[in-house]
């Protein structure tokens, strides 16, 4: 069980929260979280990718597996993670139209240079943009 001390300490430590601030208000229509606030690849990772791939990039296994990104040979060619982030794969949703190509490039570059990955060739937003499949919209 957590104590009030712990959670207060965290509140002080949290530097970026996806609270709305000056962002437009959606109020239940879509997302209260505004992805435009995520300025770096690390911020995109920590507020989105980390939800499933975990803070250490190691994923997890239950009835199925959330793939690890740590020390991941699948990241050798930057185009692969870029197309997965843009268009989704299996349970993972698409982020085309949610994150900008620049944000996708930033987060792919971040993951490819952290968590035991050492791929230094940087992906550009232009390349990411070229990987976008048709823009998808939820059907209700």
């Amino acid at each position: 069980m957590m104590g009030m001390q712990d959670i207060r300490a965290w509140a002080v430590a949290a530097s970026v929260a996806l609270s709305v601030g000056a962002a437009p208000s959606f109020c239940f229509a879509a997302d209260a979280a505004d992805p435009a606030q995520l300025k770096t690849g690390q911020q995109v990772y920590e507020h989105i990718c980390q939800a499933c791939h975990m803070a250490d990039g190691k994923g997890g296994t239950g009835a199925g597996t959330i793939p690890a990104l740590a020390s991941d040979p699948h990241l050798a060619v930057a185009a692969y993670p870029a197309t997965v982030v843009m268009n989704g794969k299996g349970a993972m949703p698409w982020f085309n139209g949610v994150l900008s190509p620049a944000q996708v490039a930033d987060v792919v570059n971040y993951v490819r240079t952290h968590f035991g990955n050492h791929y230094t060739d940087a992906l550009t937003p232009q390349v990411v943009g070229s990987m976008a499949g048709p823009l998808k919209v939820d059907d209700h």
Binding site: M1, M2, D6, I7, R8, W10, A11, A14, A17, L18, S19, V20, G21, A22, P24, S25, F26, C27, F28, A29, A30, D31, A32, A33, P35, E46, H47, I48, C49, Q50, A51, C52, M54, A55, G60, T61, G62, A63, G64, T65, I66, G88, K89, G90, A91, M92, P93, W94, V98, P134, K136, V137, D138, D139, H140
Partner: protein, 529 residues
Amino acid sequence: MPANASGPTRRDLLLRIGLTAGTAAMYQAMTALGHAEESQFRGTPELGRARRGDSVVVLGAGLAGLAAAYELDKAGYRVQLLEYQDRAGGRNWTLRGGDTYTELGGATQKVGFAAGNYFNPGPWRIPHHHRAILHYCKQFGVQLEPFIQFNNNAYVHSTNAFGGRPQRYRDGASDFIGNISELLGKSVNQNNLDQVLTKEDRERLLVALREWGMLDASYSYRKGLHVSTRRGYERPPGGGPDGAPIASDLLPFSDVLDPCVWNTMKFFMTYEMQPTMFQPVGGMDMIGKAFARHVGRLITFNRKVTAIAQDDSGVTVSHADRVSGAAGQTRADWCVCAMPLTVLAQIPVQVSPKMQAGIRAVPYSSHAKIGMEFRRRFWEEDEAIYGGISFTSQEIALISYPNDRMHSSGPAVLLGGFPLNLAGLDFAAMTPEQRLETALKQGEVIHPQYRREFMNGTSVAWSRVPWMLGCRARWSEADRKAYYQDLVALDGRIVLAGDHASYLGGWQEGALLSSMDAVKRLHKRAQEA
């Protein structure tokens, strides 16, 4: 009723049918006459008898799997149901004091709620037109009570309007309707609509706007006792010398135009969200438990399915025992696979390439829920909010107040947040402690009592639920067109079931309608085989 020269009215006819053939027949007749088409439910499948010895393996003991097992067992099939967890129900799930929940990543929460308090991390409300689940609730004696969806006295809150202060729904909605009515009235009176409306309809519209919008004789929406009969008072009516009411101030129209007002109004108008709604007394899992009372003997728990194969004579399901690690196989003539696509997409399934593509095409959403226990019902005691939902532009999206045991003393649990989509991912990325702190921080903007009264809380971020890896299937229009029919097709001896195989994603009704349709088609093919 006047003597009817043109034969019986529809009402007469329906009453006669109802009296002679019972309500089920009347419902069917109503449907045929174009009324009451609020559900595709047409009663549970009348499968008749299975051929002697025919067997079915059902995968996944969520509502779709449980209902399939129940109906097929009733028809005489030999049914085996394999489940990954050590409990039945799937997302039909309730957490209570003493329960322990470990999410992917390893964080474990021990639920600290007082006896009798609970939190539904998954489904939490049942619309009145979800007739399949209502049917099973009635059949199994699951006691229902009203889920108070709509409450005029709950709040709308936006960080960007009203100085960030929450407003009662009724104030925002009244002022929205009043101002819009005034503006439209002006438009009519300035002859702007002469081209699109007849003179008679313009006059009728003006009357409607004046009455519906609470406008005065000059078609203005103004502060006054008349308007206060809708939006409430500065000083409400009382008795004695000071009994006279005082009208309340209107909200600034610029703030009233904030999406938090009209989006909340829109939400309550959504077909799936309209009252009357229900919840099972004591927790949503009463439904899963009721199914389990009937089919629990058929369930093997702690089985992780690793492959599904089929040949001309049957289906072979390979699995691993989560406790001993031992590999095993289950063979049956047929298979109803009610596993989530998140998991199914990761194992070999011997179905057509088209169906496999569908299984792998559909991603899942990432919603999260936070149950929070407080020392007292301050929302009732201090703010006269009895059930219902307050909406906010913040990530928590809403606060939903308990619908049961109103006016009781002692600790109570409310739903302290339902972060959706990206907000759901953001919450999932947090530790359980961080989620609670965020929910407190955002919730206290609406209820200043939060910190003082908070006791404990539990969060479930669905993308980290080990047996789901997501909340609900997200169908895009393009994917629906490309994959849906192949996904729901009966493929040899295997058929999928679940809310993902329906047009009611994320609803228990979708799981049940899908399941009933699947077993009907499976049974038909089994009879023909």
